[in-house]
Symmetry: C2
């Protein structure tokens, strides 16, 4: 009855109708998230799915729960996807525009990095107090357009988001099916801040093998009462669970999640989760 | 290096210095979330901790993993906390102001419920297209000020958020320690929408027994490289994991989460996670 959904829009119903995402299944009642063993440093052109398959095999030899099963999700950190896809910019080759120089000087940032953020931004949402929040060409609204310098070996290298993270997820999923013999769901995840609350949480940039939203609207519970008029961001919640299991102080960029209630369908974060600007109350 | 944190503010550093939350521990590398068996309907004045303790005992008799251990977190749905605390309003006693009548008529909502939302709002953030996003007296920014009609037995009853969800969590934690003999961390959780993305995720309204943010700023990883300049919203991520385990189509309002990296300290969502208005880029 009460409308508890997105403060960013009038409701979870995009222009074309309700978000895809099929009828959500009942949860298995037990969620498990286990990081895979550390991967080697990922470099452009690497067969990331093969590295993940190796890590799965190595992990399963000491922890039987890491033997993948249908219904499992692999949550893969954006950083290694971007590296494998060569989405890397050497700041030494970047000529910052005047706006980037001025903003960087005022807020003690690297003007070349600010320049790359501006290039990756389809539209600036906020650019003040040292923070750049923008909408990327994919439609994600996040800090610094996802441009990230941390955890790269060379300080002058920054990673960009994958060109099409849903496609990245689909490619990893297809290749893993060949290598591992199991059709696993795949999420490409990144850490986003949010308004009004301190701290980042991990969310999905791309998905494959399931629908990222579970639509409970109109369903009744076992006693016949209507449930929350709710669309649950299942893929984003899975990313949060994975982040807790992997931790930030270790290099475990892939996490296996078992027992999540995956909505059936072939979903896409860009199509299903990203809110079109027409619905955006915080442009 | 790169600043990936909150798009809602210039950085995760509130006025009084860095957010509390101590040095985060390394994760155990295995996150488990299991819902407790269904609780009976909760009514005002009920001893909620006793109901939870009963459910824990009943659950542990068939699933040994539900025997609580130090380091475990119990995630408790706001709805049953509000009910136990009598935070219920009968809409039949509510006289809507003219603004509520007009908004409700235009957007096909219950004017009395809109009235309660306005009463629970310290400041309106957006009130358009049928959506009310506001800042509550606690400081949470969310849809409908947390006023919720669904899942109550009588359609005319709505629940309000607890007066002080951090206090609610502390009280449940203290009473559970007596009843169960283990000091468990406790979170009071609710489902919030967010700007720019469809779908809700569960977040923490109140915590007890740990700090809700993990501050990794300045830490280096095992190879000596600096980590993300990152503050992780651990409590919110735990709520997301719990939501996946509980599911919306069943009545399992309490979930046990094991293996989350709980930052040491006595935290508070209102003090540590809620971003003061001075830092808010989306007022």
């Amino acid at each position: 009855m009460t409308d508890r959904h997105a403060p960013g829009g009038p409701g979870p119903e995009p222009a074309g109708g309700p978000p895809p995402g099929a009828l959500p299944g009942e949860t298995t009642g037990r969620l498990l998230a286990i990081p895979l063993p550390a991967l080697p440093d990922v470099r452009p052109g690497d067969d990331l799915a093969a590295l993940i398959a190796d890590a799965l095999r190595a992990g399963a030899s000491s922890d039987p729960d890491l033997a993948p099963r249908p219904g499992d999700v692999l949550v893969v950190t954006q950083k290694i996807v971007s590296k494998a896809e060569g989405r890397i910019v050497d700041l030494r080759s970047v000529e910052p525009r005047q706006e980037a120089v001025a903003f960087a000087a005022r807020w003690n940032r690297d003007p070349r990095q600010v320049e790359v953020v501006l290039r990756e931004s389809a539209r600036i949402v906020r650019m003040e107090r040292g923070v750049i929040v923008s909408r990327t060409a994919h439609g994600y609204v996040c800090a610094n357009a996802g441009v990230d310098a941390s955890n790269t070996d060379i300080p002058d290298l920054v990673t960009l988001l994958p060109e099409d993270p849903d496609r990245s997820a689909r490619e990893i999923r297809a290749r893993l099916a060949d290598l591992v013999g199991v059709e696993l769901a795949v999420i490409v995840a990144d850490s986003f801040g949010r308004p009004w609350r301190w701290g980042i949480t991990d969310v999905a940039l791309g998905v494959a093998g399931f629908a990222p939203l579970a639509d409970f609207r109109g369903l009744t519970d076992t006693t016949g009462r209507e449930l929350h008029a709710t669309v649950v961001a299942v893929a984003d919640e899975i990313c949060s669970a994975a982040e807790l299991a992997s931790g930030k102080t270790s290099r475990r960029p892939v996490v296996l999640v078992r027992g999540a209630p995956l909505p059936a369908g072939d979903g896409s974060v860009v199509r299903d989760v990203v809110m079109p600007e027409a619905f955006d109350l915080f442009p």
